[in-house]
């Protein structure tokens, strides 16, 4: 948030001559919104580090109430029952590690398969010549218009009839082969690869499989990484579909587990610290990915937004 690039960006001479209050007010509003964005995250952290029993007495304090890692211990299942109740835990448990593993596994499988198959399709739409190509691509794109719930009902029936309710396969299946967005996104990049490299490879006798794996994929590693990230985050955050087909304990993913954990929290004296600790842990992987790849994500959303 350094002010150096700011000064450089102020190209308008009028803006510089004018008394700076207008600019200051504008900055104040922008900073206010940055704070509005960040404060809830801090609050989640603050409550998760609090002792649930003294939370009420310290509700106005900005720091954790009686700093403790107890809530995290409860959530991770490393607190004994007496420890948990001593800090106001409700006794409601969350088998965090299992749900975390389920989320990691299903999101990873979805990402790898969906990006790979979508890349193959994007290659066919961008680099191959065949009759009806644009029409078929348009049909693929119309799937973007269909609201997810529209397909969720019959997909549920399909998964049920395949006997895949409450299995990993059932959770990942509808996302495994393609999404219109991934195909569209990758096609845009594949279209812009220069023909010359490809033609040189053809002269050397390379087939399409070789061109795809040895040329197109390596040359598009940045967009492929970007779409992988977006798909992963999307799969990680998905709630509706796993709620339908993955309620059972051994395949339950984190979002679904959080919802159940919340509905198990008693109305009287809920374990806020535990709830926020679980929420924070569930959000942590995405926040970590974001800190590392934030700039990529920002740019790719800007890019896809234009189209």
């Amino acid at each position: 948030m350094s002010h150096v690039p700011t000064a450089r960006a102020s190209f308008s001479p009028a803006g510089r001559r004018r008394p700076n209050w207008q600019r200051m007010a504008a900055w104040a509003i922008l900073v206010l919104f940055v704070l509005i964005t960040l404060v809830p995250f801090y609050w989640m952290l603050r409550i998760s580090l609090s002792d649930n029993r003294t939370l009420a007495a310290n509700a106005g304090s900005l720091l954790p109430a009686d700093f403790t890692l107890g809530a995290f211990k409860r959530v991770l299942g490393i607190a004994t029952l007496s420890e948990a109740t001593a800090e106001g835990g409700s006794g409601a448990t969350i088998d965090f590690w299992r749900y975390l593993a389920n989320s990691v596994l299903t999101s990873a499988v979805i990402t790898v398969c969906q990006v790979f198959f979508s890349a193959m399709a994007a290659y066919a739409f961008a680099r191959l010549r065949w009759p009806g190509r644009e029409k078929v691509f348009f049909v693929f794109l119309t799937a973007l218009m269909v609201p997810p719930i529209f397909t969720a009902l019959p997909n549920f029936v399909t998964v049920q009839q395949l006997g895949l309710l409450n299995t990993y396969a059932g959770i990942v299946l509808p996302y495994l082969f393609m999404t219109p967005f991934a195909v569209f996104f990758l096609r845009q990049f594949f279209l812009n690869i220069s023909r010359e490299v490809e033609e040189a490879a053809i002269v050397d006798g390379a087939g399409h499989a070789r061109i795809f794996f040895r040329l197109i994929v390596p040359m598009s590693s940045a967009p492929i990484a970007t779409i992988s990230l977006l798909v992963y985050i999307g799969a990680w955050n998905e709630y509706f579909w796993p709620l339908l087909v993955g309620q059972e304990d051994d395949v339950r993913v984190l979002t679904v587990a959080l919802g159940i954990f919340r509905s198990q929290t008693p109305q009287a004296g809920p374990d806020w610290a535990g709830l926020m600790a679980a929420t924070l842990l569930a959000a942590l992987p995405v926040i970590a990915l974001f800190t590392v790849f934030g700039r990529w994500i920002v740019n790719s959303i800007q890019f896809s937004g234009i189209k």
Binding site: L30, G60, A121, T151, V286
Partner: protein
């Protein structure tokens, strides 16, 4: 970063890129294309096309998952017109969308313009985008805690300035506005980023020329930014309105449709009908109604876009 921005310009005219190069070898790569398309086509057929057609078919049947669907003609649609809960869910959803989109568009437009005129900081854009990247469920739970009637910090703050505490999620009058604003918080940075991308397409020289002529910032906003941004705004609205109609996660985690029917939005109503009462046929009919509404809205908005295009030249 520059690599992606450079490609952006190329991407706006993709057709040219494929047709300009010299006549390609044989006219058809069809067999190879089929191989490359196969997995995606299977996915498209089985999980998009077939279910879409099937939902339409199911909407004319009575289907409870236990016995095969039974054809009942337009019965579900007749029922829909007389179902007060359906109309309630539609009303509640529209109320949500109006508040959500109204506030969000204004805030996001403001943020985008501020970022555009003040700073190129990727950090600020990144921070504003952060809520969009965490799950709906996470966002819902954070705000559920912050807005709690007894312990929530927001109510403490209200008390502190001398106001009565509000049971944000717990009262029929406040539940929908609360959920709508929570999701404004989640989406404002994302929407601002989409608008920001549109702003970057406006040549800087236009602003420089206006500034030389002595135009003030508000004048520039009204005379340059808004008119030139209109196509972007319409596209953003198409995207966000369709998304907004699909409000489900926040409701499912916080209010579960209550208090009374105050937050029984259309998505949640369909979910209850299909997966708690196993009334698949009727649920499918409501899906079709929802789809028709969304398609109608999108068409209307795209018409506006076309009207906006002429402005630009």
């Amino acid at each position: 970063m520059s690599a992606i921005t450079e490609r952006q310009h190329g991407a706006s005219a993709p057709r040219r890129d494929t047709s300009v190069p010299r006549r390609r070898r044989r006219a058809g790569d069809l067999p190879v294309a089929l191989v490359f398309l196969l997995p995606a086509a299977v996915g498209f057929g089985v999980f998009y096309l077939w279910p879409t057609l099937r939902t339409m078919y199911l909407s004319f049947t009575d289907y409870s998952l236990l016995a095969p669907p039974e054809w009942v003609g337009a019965e579900n649609y007749r029922r829909l017109f007389q179902d007060p809960l359906f109309w309630n869910s539609l009303r509640v959803t529209v109320e949500y969308v109006v508040i959500n989109i109204g506030v969000q568009t204004v805030v996001a437009l403001g943020l985008a313009v501020l970022m555009h005129r003040l700073t190129r900081s990727g950090l600020i854009r990144g921070v504003l985008l952060l809520p969009y990247l965490v799950a709906n469920v996470v966002v819902a739970l954070i705000w559920y805690t912050m807005l709690d009637a007894q312990l929530g910090i927001v109510n403490r703050a209200l008390e502190w300035v001398g106001l009565d505490p509000v049971a944000f999620f717990g009262e029929t009058a406040t539940a929908i506005p609360t959920i709508a604003l929570v999701n404004v918080w989640r989406h404002m940075g994302y929407t601002a980023l989409l608008i920001f991308a549109g702003l970057q397409a406006i040549p800087r020289t236009v602003y420089e020329a206006a500034a030389t002529d002595g135009a003030s910032e508000p004048t520039m906003f009204r005379r340059i930014t808004l008119p030139l941004l209109r196509p972007t705004l319409v596209l953003v609205l198409v995207l966000t309105v369709i998304g907004s109609f699909q409000i489900f996660d926040t409701v499912a985690v916080t209010t579960k449709g209550g208090p009374v029917n105050a937050t029984r939005v259309i998505y949640y109503y369909i979910y209850e009908l299909a997966f708690q009462r196993f009334d698949f046929g009727y649920a499918a009919a409501i899906c079709v109604a929802l789809f028709a509404i969304l398609a109608g809205l999108a068409l209307m908005q795209l018409k506006m876009l076309r009207a906006g295009d002429t402005d630009l030249d």
